[in-house]
Subunit: 137 residues, 2 copies
DNA sequence: GTAGCTGCAAACTCTTTGCAACTCT
DNA sequence: AGAGTTGCAAAGAGTTTGCAGCTAC
């Protein structure tokens, strides 16, 4: 169930009350929450949790690759959990993040990197779009 | 020659000494300088230029789409000038930025966005890689 | 018992802004 | 002359950190 908790235990982290709360929030998150969102949600469960702990926890999870940090086009970070490989399409009007996967794209990126003489280690792809019309404009 | 200066004039900006310096630096930049790099280069030409002016100028240029702001995976912005459409491959060991273009990729992105019901407005693609071996490792 | 974790507040980094002086046009 | 621009210093946002006390193991 709580995948994150298990994996944190494996990594040798102490399981404090604060971590339990944060990990549960992340495990059940279906969006790409900002640090502040995680903090707000955590506070509503245990109001003594501090921002510093949220930052520290997310940094730890990031180092353990249990979470992915994104910057999209904002001035703050958002985190993603439960990720299989996929990319994002961000709705410019609403800010909604849609996920997608595409095999063809994966192969192509690999190929491009190789042609340039590189081994592909990581990559990001973000599409920014506007909903196609049902009406006009 | 100085494409940026012309286009700023067209946009109705006053051509101050500071702007002249900054625009010339950008026009001749062959990299993707951070605000600080631009500031350093500008200072070595006219030591009275302030950081605030560099920020303000880059923000203006960004609004006019004469420059593109990138975040790559750092905590600060880098700017790109003289851009035709292309993407970046960042060398994880050296930080070097390589540019590439790929038609197939462009078409694919357009297609993906449309399939999701969106009109593609903008997008970013960054590859992070390690140089393929000439030696071993 | 102790290494590791926490909250707090202060500090840091990058960026923006209010203001009075100055400068293009 | 007047709107736009500048430098400075202060303020903002987001994030990190030193420290003394607390807690899981």
């Amino acid at each position: 169930m709580s995948g994150l908790m298990d994996r944190c235990a494996e990594a040798g982290l102490k399981m404090t009350e604060q971590r339990r709360v944060i990990l549960q929030i992340l495990d059940s998150a279906e969006d790409h929450p900002s640090v502040e969102s995680v903090y707000d949600r955590a506070k509503s469960v245990d109001s003594s949790i501090s921002m510093a702990t949220v930052y520290r926890t997310l940094n730890l999870l990031d180092e353990l690759d249990l979470v992915v940090r994104h910057e999209f086009n904002e001035s703050f970070a958002r985190y993603e959990v439960n990720m299989e490989h996929h990319h994002h399409l961000i709705d410019l009007e609403t800010g909604e993040v849609h996920e997608f996967q595409n095999e063809e794209l994966e192969a192509l990126k690999e190929k491009i990197a190789n042609e340039l003489g590189f081994e592909l280690v990581d990559h990001t792809l973000e599409l920014y779009g506007r909903k196609l019309d049902k009406s006009s404009k």
